[in-house]
C-alpha cells in the first residue's frame, strides 16, 4: 500500500499528502465528516486502518467517520487535551457545523498537537457557497497554514502538529479544491506508527464564565507568540526575480503567480505566505519598504490585502498596495492562470493576450446515475404529488433532483435544512410539502429538525432516501452501517426505529424500485394530516453493482415501442437514447435495475437475454 511505503517518491493527491503527513507525524486520533474537497484525507486514513486491521496489525491510531463535524471536533479535542496528536478534517461548510465547539476550543486549547483541516471550495465546484475560511482563523484567533501543493501539504501538516504543541492550541490547515485535488510528487519519509495512550490531567477546562474570562487573555498571549513564530517560519519566504515591484501571495494563487513569472518573464520580488495567520508583520513591513508598489494575489476575500494595508499604515510605509478590484482580481470564484496572467501583465506593463475561441458545447452537468434509486423515488413522487407541492431538499446526490424533468428540489441551505425548513413552508403557505433527505444527512443534522417537527405537530412528509451509504463523497460508512471506518463491527442504527421512537405516527418503509408500492406509500403520506415519514430504502446502485456478479441489461422491443417518449422525457434515465426515429437502451450504461419496465406504458422493455 502506497501510503505505508517509506524512503521513496510517490505521486499523491494533496489530500493524500495531508494524510501521509499525519502518519509521519505519528497521529493518534483522526476524525471527520466527509465532504468534498476534503474527503480523501480521512478516506486515506480509513484505508490504512482497514488494511492494517485486515492483515492483523494493531492499528496505531483511532479513526472514525463521526456523525457530523461538531462531534468529530469534540471527539478529537478530548484526545488532544489528553496529550495525543489528533487531526480533524472537513469541508469549509463543515466548519460552520463544528464552529460552536471550535470557538471555545480555542480558549481551552490542547496538549497534544491538533490539526483542523478545512477544505475550501472557491467557485463552489461541489458546495453550496464559497465562504473563505481564513476568516475562521481570525474569528477564533488561531494559527493557520496554507499549502500550495501536495509536498507542502504533507510538510505543513507535520509543521502544524509542532506549532499546535508549542502553543497548546489547535492549528488550522486550509486547502482549496485546486490544492486538495492536485497530484504531485511527494517524498515518503519515515512513518511514525507508535501506539500511544492519552493521559487526561484535570485543569481549567470547564468554560463557565469565570474560567472563560481567564482563558481568553491566555489565548491572546499564545497568539502573540504565534506571530513571532510566523516571522521565522520557513513557509513564509521571499524569492527575488529582480525588479522593484512586489507580489505577495498564498495557497493556490502562488502556483499561477509562479508560472506567470516564468512564462511572462516578470521581474519582481515574491513573498510567499504559508503561515498565514497571524501574518508576519515585521517581515512584511521590511518587504514593503523594499518595493515601489505591491500587488496581493489572493483568492476570495481581501483578507491579506486589508491586513497588509494596516501593517503599511502602522509602519508609515507609503506605497500603493493593489489587490481586489485591480485588473481581473475580484472577490468571487477561484483564480486561474488566465486571471493571474492578464492582471499581472497589467501591473507590470507587459504584453499578454490570448484570443479566446468561442465554443458552443452542450452542457453536461452531473446527473443521477442510471439505476439510481433516488430517480425511482422521484418518479413515484411526481406521479402522486399535487403540482404545487413544495420540495425542500438537502445535501447529497439527490440534490440533483433540481434538474428537469423532476424538479423535486425547491429550497436548500445546508445539511439538514430539508427537515428544518419543511415545517416553515407548511406553516407559512399551507401547501403540501415533501422534504427529501439522505440517510447520512439525516444522522448528521436531520434528526434535531425532525424532533422539532414532531414536537410542534408540523404537517409535512419527510422522505428519507436511505441508500445505506454516504454516496456523493465516495461511499463512506455512517451510523446506519454495521461496519465502521476502521473496518470494525459497529452498531447499525435503524432509521425507522428512531423515527417511530420520537413519536412519528405515520411511518412507512418502501423499496423505491417497486413503483406501485412507492406511489401508494406517498399517496397515504400526503393524505395523512400531520407529520409523515416515508423511508425509501435501496442501496446506492454503484455499491449494488460492485456486489452483483452477472451484469443484467434491458432492451426495447422495437415492435411494441410506440415512441411515446415517456422513458426519455419523464423518466430520463441516461441509458435511454434516440437513434434516428428509434429509442434504444445503451447497454454499457444500463445497470439492470429494471425500474423502466414499470415506467413503459406499452410494456416494450424486456430483460436482454
Amino acid at each position: 500500500m502506497k501510503l505505508l511505503e517509506e524512503n521513496k517518491k510517490a505521486i499523491l493527491l494533496g489530500n493524500e499528502a495531508i494524510a501521509r503527513g499525519a502518519l509521519e507525524a505519528g497521529v493518534d486520533f483522526a476524525t471527520t465528516y466527509p465532504g468534498t474537497p476534503a474527503s480523501e484525507i480521512s478516506d486515506s486514513l480509513s484505508m490504512v486502518a482497514r488494511y492494517m486491521n485486515k492483515i492483523g496489525i494493531d492499528v496505531p491510531f483511532y479513526f472514525e467517520y463521526s456523525t457530523n463535524e461538531k462531534v468529530a471536533l469534540e471527539m478529537a479535542a478530548s484526545a488532544a487535551i489528553s496529550g495525543l496528536r489528533a487531526i480533524t478534517s472537513m469541508k469549509h461548510v463543515g466548519m460552520n457545523v463544528a464552529s460552536d465547539a471550535f470557538m471555545t476550543y480555542a480558549y481551552v486549547g490542547c496538549k497534544g498537537g491538533h490539526v483542523i483541516v478545512t477544505g475550501d471550495d472557491p467557485s463552489c465546484h461541489s458546495s453550496q457557497n464559497e465562504q473563505d475560511n481564513r476568516q475562521y482563523a481570525r474569528f477564533a484567533n488561531l494559527p493557520m497554514l496554507e499549502p500550495s501543493n501536495p509536498e507542502e501539504a504533507k510538510e505543513m501538516t507535520i509543521e502544524a502538529f509542532k506549532i499546535s504543541e508549542e502553543l497548546e492550541i489547535p492549528v488550522l490547515l486550509r486547502t482549496t479544491t485546486r490544492v486538495a485535488h492536485m497530484r504531485g510528487v511527494v517524498e515518503l519519509k519515515k512513518l511514525n506508527m507508535e501506539k500511544k495512550k492519552g493521559k487526561f490531567v484535570k485543569g481549567d477546562y470547564v468554560t463557565v464564565p469565570e474560567i472563560a474570562r481567564k482563558l481568553h487573555p491566555v489565548l491572546i498571549k499564545k497568539m502573540e507568540k504565534a506571530k513571532e513564530m510566523a516571522e521565522k517560519n520557513k513557509f513564509n519566504y521571499i524569492e527575488d526575480f529582480g525588479g522593484n515591484y512586489g507580489i505577495i501571495t498564498s495557497g493556490a494563487a502562488y502556483n499561477y503567480v509562479k508560472e506567470a513569472i516564468d512564462d511572462l518573464d516578470i521581474k519582481t520580488k515574491l513573498f510567499k505566505i504559508g503561515f498565514s495567520h497571524p501574518l508576519p508583520e515585521k517581515k512584511i513591513a521590511d518587504f514593503l519598504r523594499n518595493v515601489e508598489k505591491v500587488i496581493i494575489v489572493e483568492e476570495l476575500e481581501p483578507i491579506m490585502e486589508n491586513e497588509i494595508k494596516i501593517i503599511a499604515r502602522n509602519n508609515n510605509i507609503d506605497i500603493k498596495i493593489y489587490g481586489k478590484g485591480f485588473g481581473k482580481f475580484g472577490r468571487i470564484y477561484e483564480y486561474n492562470p488566465d486571471i493571474v496572467y492578464s492582471t499581472l501583465s497589467d501591473f507590470f506593463g507587459i504584453e499578454y493576450g490570448v484570443k479566446e475561441i468561442k465554443i458552443n458545447a452542450a452542457p453536461r452537468p452531473p446527473i443521477l446515475c442510471p439505476g439510481c434509486p433516488h430517480r425511482a423515488t422521484y418518479y413515484a413522487v411526481k406521479k402522486v404529488a399535487p403540482p404545487d407541492t413544495i420540495y425542500p431538499t438537502d445535501i447529497g446526490c439527490y440534490t440533483l433532483g433540481v434538474l428537469p424533468p423532476y424538479k423535486t428540489a425547491d429550497f436548500l441551505l445546508c445539511m439538514g435544512s430539508s427537515a428544518g425548513s419543511a415545517g416553515g413552508f407548511s406553516k407559512a403557505t399551507g401547501k403540501k410539502v415533501i422534504a427529501f433527505i439522505g440517510d447520512s444527512t439525516f444522522f448528521h443534522a436531520g434528526l434535531p429538525a425532525l424532533i422539532n417537527a414532531i414536537h410542534h405537530n408540523h404537517n409535512f412528509t419527510l422522505a428519507i432516501l436511505d441508500n445505506s451509504t454516504t454516496a456523493m463523497t465516495g461511499h463512506q460508512p455512517h451510523p446506519g452501517n454495521s461496519i465502521d471506518g476502521m473496518g470494525n463491527e459497529a452498531v447499525a442504527i435503524n432509521i425507522a426505529s428512531i423515527v417511530k421512537g420520537i413519536g412519528v405516527k405515520h411511518v412507512e418503509v418502501v423499496n423505491p424500485y417497486n413503483l406501485k408500492a412507492t406511489q401508494d406509500a406517498f399517496k397515504r403520506a400526503l393524505e395523512y394530516d400531520g407529520l409523515s415519514v416515508v423511508i425509501a430504502k435501496a442501496p446506492c446502485i454503484l455499491l449494488d453493482l460492485k456486489r452483483r456478479r452477472k451484469k443484467i441489461t434491458f432492451e426495447i422491443d422495437q415492435d411494441k415501442c410506440t415512441k411515446c417518449n415517456v422513458c426519455i422525457n419523464d423518466f430520463a434515465c441516461p441509458a435511454f437514447y434516440r437513434d434516428g426515429d428509434k429509442i434504444k437502451i445503451n447497454e454499457s450504461l444500463c445497470t439492470g435495475c429494471g425500474f423502466c419496465v414499470q415506467v413503459c406504458p406499452e410494456k416494450a422493455i424486456r430483460r436482454k437475454k
Binding site: K9, A10, I11, T36, S39, H125, S126, S148, N149, T177, R178, H181, M182, R183, G184, V185, Y254, N255, Y256, K258, E259, D262, D263, N336, P337, D338, Y341, V354, E356, I357, I359, N360, A361, A362, P363, R364, P365, P366, I367, L368, C369, P370, C397, L400, L403, P404, P405, A471, M472, T473, L542, I568, N569, A572, C573, P574, F576, Y577, R578, S588
Partner: protein
C-alpha cells in the same frame, strides 16, 4: 522544459485513470509531474477533465492555449476544452458521441460531428480515432482510455519512454486486466503508425 496535456471525457470513461498512468510513467522517468482533477457531485455522466503537466510547472490548471495536446475520449469534450491547446498542439479524439441526457429533452444541443472537427482543425492539428472499435478488438470497450494513450504515444509529442508507460499500466490497472490493457495500448499505437 514544460509539457502539458489535457485528458477529457465523460464520467465513467476512465479519464482520471488514464491521467494517472501517464503521470506515473513520468515519475518513473524522474520528471517533476503534477496533475489536476475535480471530483464530487454525482459519480457518472458529468464532463471530466484532468491535466497532466511535467517539467518546471506549478499550476494544476494549464494556462490558456499552451497545452501540447488534448486527449479526448469523446468528441464534444475535445471541443469544450479547445481553448487549452496551443495552435501548435494536437487534439486527438475518439469519434463516438455520448449525448448528454438533457439534450434529449431540449436542454442544450449537441453540435454536428462535422462542426466539431472543423472548429478544431481551424485551431490546430486534429487526429481522429474510432477508439470504441479498437477497444472492442482489444477485448473490452472499457480499455478505450488505454487505446487513446497508445495512439497518443505513437504521435511522439510527449517525452516518455514506451517501457515506462507499459510499466505504469501494469502498476495502475487491476492484475487480471493488465494483459488486455497492454494489448489495447498496442492496437492504439498501430492506429497511428
Amino acid at each position: 522544459m514544460k509539457k502539458s496535456i489535457l485528458l477529457a471525457g465523460v464520467g465513467g470513461q476512465g479519464v482520471i485513470t488514464a491521467a494517472n498512468i501517464i503521470a506515473n510513467a513520468a515519475l518513473i522517468e524522474g520528471h517533476k509531474v503534477i496533475t489536476s482533477e475535480l471530483h464530487g457531485m454525482a459519480q457518472r455522466g458529468g464532463d471530466v477533465k484532468c491535466a497532466v503537466r511535467i517539467g518546471n510547472v506549478y499550476s494544476p490548471i494549464i494556462p490558456p492555449q499552451t497545452a501540447d495536446a488534448i486527449i479526448s475520449l469523446e468528441p464534444m469534450e475535445a471541443l469544450r476544452n479547445l481553448n487549452v491547446v496551443s495552435k501548435k498542439g494536437v487534439v486527438i479524439t475518439d469519434i463516438n458521441p455520448i449525448y448528454p441526457p438533457l439534450t434529449s429533452i431540449g436542454i442544450g444541443e449537441y453540435p454536428s460531428l462535422n462542426d466539431i472537427f472543423e472548429k478544431i482543425e481551424k485551431h490546430c492539428r486534429l487526429v481522429k480515432i474510432n477508439a470504441d472499435e479498437v477497444a472492442k478488438k482489444a477485448g473490452s470497450i472499457l480499455t478505450k482510455n488505454i487505446v487513446m494513450i497508445g495512439s497518443f504515444y505513437a504521435l511522439d509529442i510527449f517525452p516518455l519512454e514506451r517501457k515506462s508507460i507499459i510499466q505504469s499500466i501494469s502498476q495502475n490497472i487491476k492484475k487480471e486486466y493488465v494483459d488486455m490493457n497492454i494489448k489495447a495500448f498496442e492496437i492504439g499505437e498501430k492506429e497511428i503508425k
